[in-house]
């Protein structure tokens, strides 16, 4: 057990959460990060789906990495990812129908999420399955928490709710508080992400832009 969670492995898991975050530092997988964050629930589901898919595609590719013919490497990776994404989208349709309607085409777009291909090429092709799994989980969660932060802010300020439960008290509305409808628009997702990145850089001064 201690070997499974050695210092190096913990490093693999935690680096993408902060210092090597896929969204903020590597600028990967932004498309879906923005489109599904108007509410918290789809953001969480999307984050989890990406985490699961990254982890498992990493493991699968890592297991078969020595057998893959070099020439069709990218296609094989895409096929594995596409198969996993199809499975996830079918599972969502069967067990979380409402969310799958909200995510619409963005579930399918996980295939072209650069985080996946990036991790497969940069990590899974060169490392053992267990490390690849940790790397996948780490990067998936690094992606997920940004989605959750943006989704929470947008839902709270945009419609005064979190996960559909009203948070802003009625008294605030009576006193003149108004939901900021702008927050539910796509444009604010970009600006919020800009601010999140700015704050992150201001706190971690050692990160080069």
């Amino acid at each position: 057990m201690s070997q499974l969670f050695s210092k190096d492995n913990r490093q693999i898991l935690t680096a993408p959460l902060n210092g090597d975050n896929p969204i903020m530092i590597q600028i990967l997988g932004i498309c879906s990060a923005l489109a599904v964050t108007a509410q918290l629930e789809p953001a969480i589901v999307m984050g989890l789906s990406v985490t699961v898919i990254t982890a498992f595609s990493n493991v699968i590719i890592s297991i078969i990495r020595k057998t893959i013919p070099n020439r069709i490497r990218i296609i094989i990776q895409l096929v594995v990812v596409a198969a996993l994404v199809t499975v996830v989208s079918m599972v969502l349709k069967a067990f979380a129908y409402d969310v799958s309607v909200k995510l619409s085409v963005y579930v399918g777009l996980i295939i072209t999420n650069c985080i996946l291909m990036g991790r497969l090429e940069a990590f899974a092709m060169m490392n053992k399955p267990w490390e690849s799994f940790l790397d996948g989980i780490g990067n998936g969660l690094g992606y997920a928490w940004i989605l959750v932060v943006i989704g929470a802010v947008r839902e709270l300020l945009g419609s005064g709710t979190l996960l559909g439960y009203t948070i802003i008290p009625q008294g605030a509305y009576d006193a003149g508080y108004v939901n900021n409808g702008m927050m539910t628009m796509p444009a604010m997702a970009l600006i919020l992400l800009g601010i999140v990145i700015g704050v992150h850089r201001a706190v971690n001064k050692d990160i080069k832009s």
């Binding site: 600028i27 489109a35 990218i74 994404v85 777009l109 999420n113």
Partner: protein
Amino acid sequence: MEHALSLFVRSIFVDNMIFASFLGMCSYLAVSKNVKTSLGLGIAVTFVLLVTVPVDYLLQTKILAEDGLFGTDLTYLSFILFIAVIAGITQLVEMVVERFSPTLYNALGIFLPLIAVNCAIMGASLFMQQRIQMDPATSSQAISSLGDTFVYALGAGIGWTLAIVALAAIREKMAYADVPKPLQGLGIIFITVGLMAMAFMCFSGLSI
């Protein structure tokens, strides 16, 4: 005809790939440093869209759909087939362009391989798949014929090109601006794109 025109205008301005659905963001941010290269990438994306969306449309309606070649609903294979088509066609396009038009190849060359993982291409195909279900009588987004797919692909491509060239132009000027330190680089770009998206929101009142 009227439907085609409104679909075209909508795909460029209202359903803009970048500002309304955030597709193709990765290369959008990475390659928008100067106007000339971004124009090249924009043209390459439009080109690939024009080939892949109609091909995927034919696949979806003639083979995967319930009344298609195999008589059963094979939609669950669509993700794999679409991505394979995209990856295959990008390579094919690269080879064809290299063989027949070296000048165009030199202009687009480095961008073509990048496009296989550009979500705008996959996204356009998935949107197309979704819009086949829509009713052209009530929705100007509906895609109901092969002709519509060309119109949609062209519109989406032009919209993407427009967005990336505009951002590149702003970034060229922004190089001289005094941006607060933590926002330098990525942060300010996102905020800029957000403001541009807001400007594009005004097209949403467009009654076509």
